[in-house]
């Protein structure tokens, strides 16, 4: 599919989501600015609690944002009326992390895939809808005789295929994949990753791929955003990020991944400290407490993403 390289499909400006918790205000997503180009795949990496799933839900307006704008094809979807949003919803879908809990256990595979079609009244005729459902099942590699099975009768990989079919039923342009393979075994994980990549090529989809697994995101995404405690700390093309990570957190993250090889010259290093909660955070770098290069004069100032050339953006006062 022909796509303009600079055609931006999804864009966020100063996106924030705060939650009130008993200890104060949790800055789950704090001032995130991203752009996703049509037909591209933006990977969002981070550890638990970094706000990556919240970000995905904000982008689809599944939860209301505290502040900021989300543009889809140039339209700020946070300002749309509910009716207009419903009309737009088929264009943006989500694949969920856990194929065990995100499928209603009382619905058959057929009904599960039919649901998005029925909800949006795509087909008037039952037969036409059934045809489309079988087409979708073929597309995601689910044998047709599973149509009357229930989710608990299938294995994790097949269940995730149902999730993919549901997300694709309405021909979306943009799909948020929220850790779609982290609940699956390695060999099944590879099958689903291949499927997602094939479907992207075939249907010209745009993905935002949320994951904690760096090797997965390196494999599937062209661009990668690294998140830490609600903020995006580094944004670069996949090749650039893995070749030349700039932010100390990205470096630490890369060094911590165990590589399945013996002959790597790579030093396996460990950073100290734990991921905390961004509750009423002070201005300045949120990684400072774990960082070896902490410099109070420079790191305690508010940090923002700055371009270091080639579109490699990093939010670190020390990366000069």
């Amino acid at each position: 599919m022909e796509t303009d390289r600079n055609d931006i499909l999804v864009k966020t400006v100063g996106l924030k989501k705060y939650f009130k918790v008993s200890e104060g205000i949790l800055h789950a997503v704090d001032d995130v600015n991203l752009e996703i180009r049509r037909g591209h795949n933006l990977g969002v990496v981070g550890e638990s609690g970094c706000g990556k799933s919240t970000l995905g839900r904000l982008l689809l307006r599944l939860i209301p944002a505290t502040e900021g704008e989300v543009y889809f094809e140039g339209q700020d979807i946070l300002k749309l009326s509910n009716a207009k949003m419903s009309a737009l919803r088929p264009n943006m879908q989500m694949i969920f992390q856990d194929p065990y809990s995100s499928l209603n256990p009382r619905m058959s595979v057929f009904d599960l895939i039919a649901e998005p079609l029925q909800m949006n009244k795509v087909y008037k005729q039952y037969d036409a809808m059934a045809d489309r459902i079988y087409e979708l099942m073929d597309m995601v590699g689910l044998a047709r005789y599973y149509a009357d099975s229930f989710p608990h009768e299938l294995d994790g990989g097949r269940r995730q295929r149902i999730g993919v079919a549901r997300a694709l039923a309405l021909n979306p342009k943009f799909v948020v994949c929220d850790e779609p393979v982290s609940a699956l075994d390695v060999s099944i994980q590879a099958q689903i990753l291949n499927l997602l990549m094939d479907l992207q090529d075939e249907l010209g989809l745009t993905y935002m791929f949320i994951t904690h697994d760096l090797s997965v995101v390196k494999h599937i995404s062209e661009e990668i955003a690294v998140m830490y405690l609600g903020q995006c700390v580094e944004l670069a093309s996949s090749r650039e990020l893995f070749k030349n990570p700039l932010h100390p957190y990205t470096k630490a993250l890369l060094a911590a991944v165990p590589v399945p090889r013996l002959d790597t010259g790579r030093e396996f290093s460990v950073i100290r400290g734990e991921v905390s909660n961004p509750i009423d955070p002070k201005p300045g770098c949120r990684f400072a407490a774990r960082c070896d290069h902490y410099d109070p004069q420079r790191c305690d100032l508010p940090q923002s993403l700055r371009d270091k050339g080639n579109g490699h953006m990093v939010a670190c006062a020390l990366c000069e």
């Binding site: 689809l60 599944l62 419903s86 919803r89 088929p90 879908q93 989500m94 969920f96 856990d98 809990s101 995100s102 499928l103 209603n104 256990p105 009382r106 619905m107 058959s108 057929f110 009904d111 649901e115 998005p116 909800m119 949006n120 039952y126 037969d127 059934a130 045809d131 079988y134 099942m137 044998a143 047709r144 005789y145 599973y146 149509a147 009357d148 099975s149 229930f150 608990h152 999730g163 549901r166 309405l170």
Partner: protein
């Protein structure tokens, strides 16, 4: 693995809620099966009471036959008015079962509606409903039921009303909590992301997943309602004589209990067996209705 092919014409829909697996799973629990059979026997007695023995035998006095011990003629003996105890127990099953079932059905429907409002919309609606329910739950059941019957006068309808009012809070609490777990589940969020309207979410996602709990709660409650009705009749606030009712029969028999124990043993046994059968059945239903419990 399913053998039926995937062609639309040949699709045979499997009911998501009750299908052949449900019965297979239910059968596995032998105690529940016994419960079901026992309950069916009571239901048969209820339906064919008039065929088995005329109603007149159960209510007309026959002083010459009073206080006969169990014999070939009167299997369960006769009471102080010479009425056949077996005939009275059989006809009493009509009142008792009917009262149990009807009060539970009305109660569950009211309870489900209130619970759905509380669970789905939360906030003020939730707090108000739960406050009222908790207040009602603070009043001991007997006291509340007696107060209602005393205020409205005794009689079948008023007894039913008292049972419903006193039991609704229990249903609301149970059903609300099961609705809350479903509302927060991932698949409801997934449905929302597809643009599914609220009413569809309630009908297709929340109710089918909460109804197992509701059915089990209902089955178990019928037994409780029967005992409560019996208790009210025992203190003279329920079914009025000479109409037969298990609790009322106990009450009538208590004066002769020491000399003629069968007068209380048989109605008591009827209450115990009926409740037991329903509770056993409820246990089995709970397991049978959960699609994720395979074996």
């Amino acid at each position: 693995m399913k053998k039926n092919a995937g062609n639309p014409e040949r699709r045979r829909k499997r009911n998501a809620f009750i299908n052949r697996d449900t019965w297979r799973r239910f059968k596995k629990n032998k105690a529940s099966l016994v419960g079901l059979i026992l309950f069916l026997i009571f239901v048969l007695f209820m339906i064919f009471a008039d065929v088995i023995v005329p109603y007149s035998v159960a209510i007309e006095n026959n002083i010459s036959q009073r206080l006969q011990p169990p014999s070939a003629e009167h299997w369960f003996g006769t009471d102080a008015f010479g009425r056949d105890v077996l005939a009275r127990i059989i006809h009493a099953s009509r009142y008792s079962l009917l009262m149990g079932i009807v009060s539970v059905v009305i109660g569950i429907v009211c309870g489900s509606v209130l619970a759905a409002i509380a669970g789905l919309y939360g906030g003020i609606a939730d707090r108000t409903i739960m406050l009222i329910m908790d207040t009602i739950l603070c009043i001991p059941f007997m006291l509340l039921a007696l107060a209602i019957v005393a205020a409205l006068g005794s009689g079948l309808e008023n007894l039913l009303m008292a049972l419903v009012i006193a039991s609704v809070p229990i249903y609301v609490r149970v059903i609300r909590s099961s609705i809350l777990t479903v509302v927060e589940s991932d698949f409801v969020e997934a449905a929302r992301s597809l643009g599914t309207p609220d009413r569809w979410i309630v009908l297709k996602h929340i109710l089918p997943n909460a109804i197992g709990t509701i059915i089990v709660q209902a089955t178990m409650s019928v037994g409780t309602m029967i005992t409560w009705a019996a208790a009210l009749s025992y203190v003279g606030m329920g079914i009025q004589p000479p109409a037969p009712e298990w609790g009322a029969m106990l009450s009538e028999g208590k004066n002769y209990m020491l000399q003629y124990p069968y007068l209380v043993i048989f109605p008591g046994l009827a209450i115990v067996l009926c409740c037991l059968s329903l509770n056993l059945m409820g246990d089995g239903l709970r397991d049978a209705l959960d699609p994720k419990l395979k074996d």
